[in-house]
Amino acid sequence: MKALCWYGKYDVRVEDVPEPTILNPRDAVIKVTSTAICGSDLHLYDGYIPTMKKGDILGHEFMGEVVDVGSAITNLKMGDRVVVPFTIACGNCFFCERGLWSACDNSNPDPRIAEKLYGYSGSGLFGYSHMMGGYAGGQAEYVRVPFADVGPIKIPDGVPDEKVLFLSDIFPTGYMAAENCNIQRGDTVAVWGCGPVGQFAIKSAYLLGAERVIAIDDNADRLRLAAEEGKAETINFAKEDVYDRLKAMTGGLGPDSCIDAVGLEAHGHTLDALYDRAKAALYLTTDRLHALRQAIYACRKGGTISIPGVYGGLLDKFPFGAAFGKGLTFRMGQTHVHKYLQPLLDLVIEGHIDPSFVITHRLSLADAAEGYKTFKNKPEECFKVILKPGVNGNGHALSH
């Protein structure tokens, strides 16, 4: 089968690889009908994530049809359409029983690397390095899904792929980011980063009762999307001082909650951002946290910092004094996707949200490598790429 494989920094290729098979009783094999490139895939593409191996199949946002199931699977049958959460969870352990699906204790086959780095390992993830379990991802014609009796959610006929594909990651991730803000009536929520997760966080913040949402980015197109689709007020950090502007907009109080939907590759135009970039270039630090620093400074006293953006290693110049001095609450972590699948699918079916608004590029899987290049190099036009394994590649986008 064809699959998008990682071979190194800026080197991903569609290769012929063996088709997946059932390895454990609770496995299923899915024929992928739609898959997407995630912003966090760019962290892999950029070589920021350790423990990748040459030949790893990428992709953690995917959906498709069940074509094979293990002996213990009774909830799925051939031909079922399912969306698969990017986090892999067993459903039986202490953490899964408490709804902390992305902290599943059992799904990472070799948790020892993560334990060395983090003390304990989170759940296994699809297509996201061997520290996270090394599971082959879904930017492929077929993918093996472990614990298929717990993760995949069935999609009713008549609901198109594009409306539900993002239940696999970015919609729940944006939603959990907003939920983590513990939004109260009258609250102002500021969102750093207007990529797809930021866009879903904006919409979710309103769904959860926010009074105002303020979107922060330096990309005019993304800000426009946040304003038009998300109904957010906007701040262009290339043109305005974010702290001053937020303070003015909130009458000196500061936002009640701040969402960092940027993560470890934040860029900015201030001195600390340049310093981060220089250090990262020299491999002295892995994570650049300009957006997070700004969020901590700007947040009101007693407010909440919610972090859906991915961080992997050590943070330099983290303003802990400001966080302590204002008594901030921090909420973060990989999304407990399983918890959000049904409620968010209901929101889609009931017409409260159509997640397909983020899609700008539809490509064949055969053109996936080109998709990464475009996504990386043309952020102004390329916002979200979805890949269709069933479609012949011709070197051109299917549509824009």
Partner: protein, 276 residues
Amino acid sequence: MQNEADFYRTNDTQSSGNGSAPRRNLGHIAAVVAGVTIAGYGVRKKSPAIVALGLAGGGALFFRRELGKLAGNTISSLGTSTDDAVAREYHVEKSIVINQTPEALYKFWRDLENLPRFIENLESVNPLDERRSHWVVKGPGNTTVEWDAEIFNEKENELIAWRSLAGRAEVTNAGSIHFEKAPDGRGSKVSVTLNYNPPGGKPAVLLAKLFGDEPGQLIELNLRRLKRLVETGEIPTIEGQSSGRVADSEPKRKENKVASKTPVKALAAGASEEVA
């Protein structure tokens, strides 16, 4: 009744003492599998250094007596039931919390034929009678290491303790597994104690530690595999999955030993209502 702080007090320790009295009395000493932990070093790892280490350790198994003589030691008599002395050179304790009742876990473990389902390199355990069993462990290459062991102390739903028997014992070992109810319905704490005299002696263990592969870690690994098998009914793996690596895809599984047997949940269900 212990309080919670006591319960979670770490007791993962590892110590060594030459000839000093065992740290715990026999009732708490028991057996797992020195052979499992040591004999298989060389086979699984690709690193030449670890393969060499494995061969050294594995080879030492077969020249145990000779090495023992060279070292002026009496390894062959330590820890067997014919001698007051027990396996005492190394002492390892590891524990893990498993989301299952002590009753179900005890029942699962007491059926010794279940052990090869999650202990790496353990080829088979065949009960000889109520107390005695025959153990076969994969060694380097196509070799095996075998011994007889006996359960010399057990308390239903709480404790199983066993030791290798003299005569056929290739590896002198004694150990125990202890099942305790965790607070507030949080399953059980399972603790394994292992006393053993390593083939190749202390240098082999130190060398192994250097490469991160020594009995304490392997016990941890096998306890984790037990937890996973009991909680989920399988042991998560990526062995045999697809990748774009040409020659070196994940090594193929010869057989799925977990999948081919009775599901654990069904086994455990007989002893517990808490099975998911």
